[in-house]
């Protein structure tokens, strides 16, 4: 132990060093992800080659389709929009220690609410859009409450309750879409929301709407919440060391509810983005196919983004780009969507274990070092 008192400047000076270290770690993490990506795409290329496709052309298509021109970029961002929100649902919950896979159901309910309000409430554009978003956020949050309540009072694990509520939402929506919200003239979908409640394309010829700002705004809010507010501070305690939660003076019951409610809000908004924020239909399809799988894709997004709101934005853009790029992979290289799925799956699996590639690198490095005499280790201070 060092009896010498530490001077305040010194603490901060080392903090700067610490911050540099963190930056280095972050860059290292990014590098790991990039390596994983290269490996995933490499395996994908092998598979495509094996199946007789031109993988170069396919990847060219992937790039052109996702970032090739302003439309491609806008389409990528449009695909990313709901994923940011559903990613946040999982990410926020994971930070608070819950495995919340209820985004799918909450999103469906949010979409229903957006239809109900957007199609039936005539109001000036800004008001209508705002109300539709609010209604769907509220609906998502309400749908998240029973699992939270069951968790808090009956100890029902969120995995089971959210899976069940996803299905309950699914069937409820199937009913409502066909029987209550249906469009009499075009019964394969619900009524369309009124023009005043629609967000138009920001760039003509592409699907991106102002909904992207809502998604990014929610992500920024979640960031603020987690790292700059006492409630988020408590959520993170719940996720890391729940026994310390009561010691820290927090109310665990309230913490569960708050987490689920906020996650539900985000999920509900995700549903709304597909209704009022995605041309051309502005309605929910009878087989719910315009919100299909977005909730589950959010899990991958959250995890690739390391459950960090800003990471989630990047991960959603990445997955969105894969989706948008799939189009040109099909058109340019004739690669069927199923083959594209194999590439997606491989890339995601490769992303699961970034450490593997670092280990691999180390292993190769060690093999090289064994051949050459090792340089003296850099002298570092003993860390006490």
């Amino acid at each position: 132990m060092d009896p010498r008192p530490v001077e305040p400047q010194e603490l901060d000076a080392i903090t700067r060093r610490e911050r540099r270290r963190q930056l280095r770690a972050a860059l290292g993490g990014l590098a790991e992800i990039l390596i994983a990506l290269v490996i995933g795409l490499g395996v994908g290329a092998l598979v495509m080659r094996g199946a007789g496709y031109n993988w170069r052309l396919a990847y060219e298509g992937l790039l052109i389709g996702s970032f090739g021109d302003q439309w491609a970029i806008a389409d990528t961002l449009a695909s990313a929009t709901p994923l940011i929100l559903t990613g946040l649902v999982f990410g926020l919950s994971a930070r608070a220690g819950y495995f919340n896979i209820g985004a799918q159901g909450q999103m469906v309910v949010g979409a229903l609410a957006a239809v109900a309000v957007g199609a039936h409430l005539s109001a000036p554009p800004v008001v209508a859009v705002t109300l539709a978003f609010l209604a769907s956020a509220l609906a998502g949050a309400i749908w998240a409450l029973p699992p939270a309540f069951l968790k808090a009072t009956r100890g029902v694990h969120e995995v089971i309750s959210t899976i069940m509520f996803n299905w309950i939402a699914h069937y409820t929506a199937l009913y409502l879409v066909f029987n209550v919200l249906n469009d009499p003239r075009s019964a394969e979908r619900t009524v369309r929301v009124l023009p005043g409640a629609r967000l138009g394309a920001l760039i003509p010829g592409a699907d991106m709407t102002a909904a992207i700002f809502v998604a990014v705004g929610v992500a920024v809010f979640m960031y603020w919440l987690l790292w700059h507010s006492p409630w988020g501070y408590e959520m993170r305690i719940a996720g890391l060391n729940p026994s310390a939660l009561r010691y820290a003076g927090a109310n665990p019951l309230w913490s569960v509810n708050l987490t689920f409610i906020l996650a539900g809000l985000a999920a509900g908004l995700a549903g709304a983005t597909q209704i009022i924020g995605r041309p051309p239909t502005y309605a929910l399809y009878g087989d719910l196919s315009n919100v299909r799988n977005l909730g589950f894709d959010g899990i991958a997004v959250a995890l690739i983004g390391r459950n960090h709101p800003l990471g989630i934005i990047l991960a959603a853009i990445f997955i969105g780009a894969m989706g948008a790029g799939a189009r040109m992979m099909q058109i340019m290289a004739g690669v069927p969507l199923d083959m594209v799925r194999i590439v997606h799956g491989t890339v995601i699996i490769a992303l699961a274990a970034p450490e593997a590639w670092t280990l691999l690198g180390k292993f190769l490095g060690r093999a090289r070092a064994r051949r050459a005499p090792a340089p003296p280790a850099p002298a570092k201070t003993v860390h006490r």
């Binding site: 132990m1 009896p3 008192p5 603490l11 901060d12 006492p230 993170r236 890391l240 570092k380 860390h383």
Partner: protein, 533 residues
Amino acid sequence: MPDRSAPPAGAADQYKPVSVLAGAPPWLEMRGITKVYPDGTRALENVDLVVAKGEIHGLLGENGAGKSTLMKILSGILPLTSGRILLGGREVSLRSTHDALAHGIGMVHQHFSLVPTFNALDNIILGRGALLASPARAAARARIRRLMEETGLHVPLDIPVEQLPVGTQQRIEILKTLDRNVDLLILDEPTAALTPQETDQLFTVLRGLAARGTTIILITHKLREVLALTSAVTVLRHGRVVGSRLTEGATAQDLARMMVGTERMPDVKARREHQKSEPVLRVAGLTVKGDGGQDVVKNVSFEINAGEIFAIAGVTGNGQSELIEALAGLRPIARGRVYLLGQPINGKSPRELYRMGIAHVPEDRHRLGMVAQFSVLENSILGVHHEPRFRRGVPGTIHWGKVRRYARDIVRRFQVVTPSLSTPMRSLSGGNQQKLVVGRELSKSPSLVIAGQPTRGLDVAATAAIRDLLVDIRNEGKAVLLVSADLDEVLALADRIAVMYEGEIMAILQKDQFDRERIGLLMGGVRDGSAAG
């Protein structure tokens, strides 16, 4: 292989100190051990440790000196960065505990390695026997019963260990390793949660084992124990060997000097005398239930005055933990009334209790008192994070700048050694973690401080620092409730001592009644006529 069937008592008498320093041939040799943790921490730098067969060797050093790291390498838990390990002259490769156990090396861990949902029996038989065979519980039970008799370490075999107090877990941890009949027994602070009597009996057992050829390495911060038990010691400082010496002829001062590098052997701070003031905490007929639903604190009454350290002594597991949890609002009060400065506190939440002036240094700092993954900065406001003084303009926003100043202040005042405020708490040494927790609690300017085992596992200097802090707040006229299994600590600090046994207070002793032997008897449940609980 020591023969467990031989009677231990006779063997213990035969123990003759052996040591390489006294000419015995080396048996275990750790040569040039360097350990760099993945985060870059150089925990060990070219360390040598040589021990003879049948030796009891002490390993000393301050918190963070690298003792546990060295022993974890030896027990196969950690890979070493460079260096060699030889057993009986042959180099061995210890890449897992499985390897180490195969070489007869077993370790009692500082942070217990027990499966919380298993009972003691299953923890002890874990990892043994043929994979597809039924666990040999009956045979093990008989064996452990015998071992418990022999060692005096008694534990319930059928209760999940997570429901057992720390002291009992410690005993299980020791039994688990003893039951493996290892040739090299490593004990990392085994006595931190034992009573003096248990410690004595354990030492008798260890001497017996050594007499029969078991080699023992003991890590402890209690110099008395080192002097009582070991043949020789090796001292580490900052990851390097300071030196080794024979225990014979050494004094506590000598050892402390080697460890700390100074002459000073810290003393407890002078205490200022107060005139009696009104009670801060009044506990009347308090009953608390344990995790199993049974009464573990039974109808307990006492008062703590301002300017007083009121200590609760007792073997761990006699209801002290539940008592403090109840007083800190973490466990419901079953019956009875508790008043803080005249206000009832029954049913209040920890946050309300904090507002009323209670600070709590929890017994189990890893589980309760901190969030290991949080930075020092973030941990410094655990429990006060919601306060307006850390807010900024945007509603509800934590002003990290203000927090930083607050944290810096704690770190400075309480001499927490940390590279920076952004360092994760888990990379601090145990002593510094504890200093931060204590500092944070004392910074709440409380009127009552509840301190559970505040110096457990800390080195000499850190212990002294924490004890000084407790005396300081007492001197400032605040009340302190100290719960400690360390009788020395209780005797050194307390103004009054209550002894707890099986949930009851056996006696409350005034300063002039302090008497080691009498307290020891009370802790063992032996009542004397003068003071019945």
